[in-house]
Subunit: 159 residues, 2 copies
């Protein structure tokens, strides 16, 4: 947010939504810096982690599992495939699909990202005691679950 050398508390400064978006901004900056130190960004991590968790899959499936939109998935895979962290192969059983899989270099990269990520969690929560960290994550989880339920994220209700 730049350099507000003249910041007596704007009237919005203590609103929950502001506190949330601002701390999230710091969190995002911390994590993104960690990722970018190895030439990656959030989508890359999410895709690599999803592949590692569930194994090779089509782009559409990966999109559903990782929460990355199909149209963003294309670019993400392109970027990872260019660096050979991921492999894109046609599915012989369904010619509409590509099967994406993790390469060894991709697994290595994932481990690097995981390490950076963990470090940054600690930086993020630095001013809080272990009990406070616990309470914060619990409260945030409750909020998130509530709003995820309300807003889509149907978790296969109709299947």
């Amino acid at each position: 947010m730049q350099n507000p050398s003249e910041t007596p508390p704007g009237r919005w400064e203590r609103l929950p939504s502001w506190l949330l978006t601002q701390t999230a901004g710091h969190a995002h900056r911390l994590v993104a810096d960690g990722f970018s130190s190895v030439g990656a960004r959030g989508y890359h991590y999410r895709l690599l982690a999803t592949l590692d968790d569930f194994g090779p899959a089509s782009q559409a499936t990966l999109g559903r599992r990782s929460g990355i939109h199909a149209s963003d998935m294309v670019a993400t895979i392109n970027e990872l495939a260019d660096r050979e962290l991921v492999e894109r192969a046609p599915d012989p059983a369904d010619r509409r699909r590509n099967i994406i899989s993790l390469t060894d270099a991709g697994k290595q990269q994932l481990r690097r990202l995981e390490k950076r990520l963990a470090e940054r969690q600690d930086e993020l929560l630095a001013p809080l005691s272990p009990e406070e960290r616990q309470r914060l994550t619990e409260l945030l989880s409750r909020l998130l679950d509530h709003h995820n339920q309300r807003t889509g994220t149907p978790e296969e209700p109709w299947s």
Copy 2:
């Protein structure tokens, strides 16, 4: 985040940074929807509120007070001035400056935005008890203060 009908907890799903950015996403969506229902967005509210709090000022000053970057300030003021919510007049005492001031229509709009904003805070915190809301905002404030201190926001240290 679209419609992840196939979302068994990604390994990152309980990380503090994830909880934070996701809940912030919901918070932002809620507030932005409220704002857009009267044709505004976050920058508009912040600018109007800053003008209301401190009175007319130059664009540079407004930028410092509201945390909006100078280059974004131009567009924001253009948009508000087009709708006559704000007035841009040359400063006779310094021809580099424009003096921006709130019109009556602008004040009205601000009141509308404030109302929407308050409603959305409540929606955002719906699943939490009053005490829990209190604890959450306290924890977030601590986090935010810590990181604001670390990252710029010098609050006029050298003057």
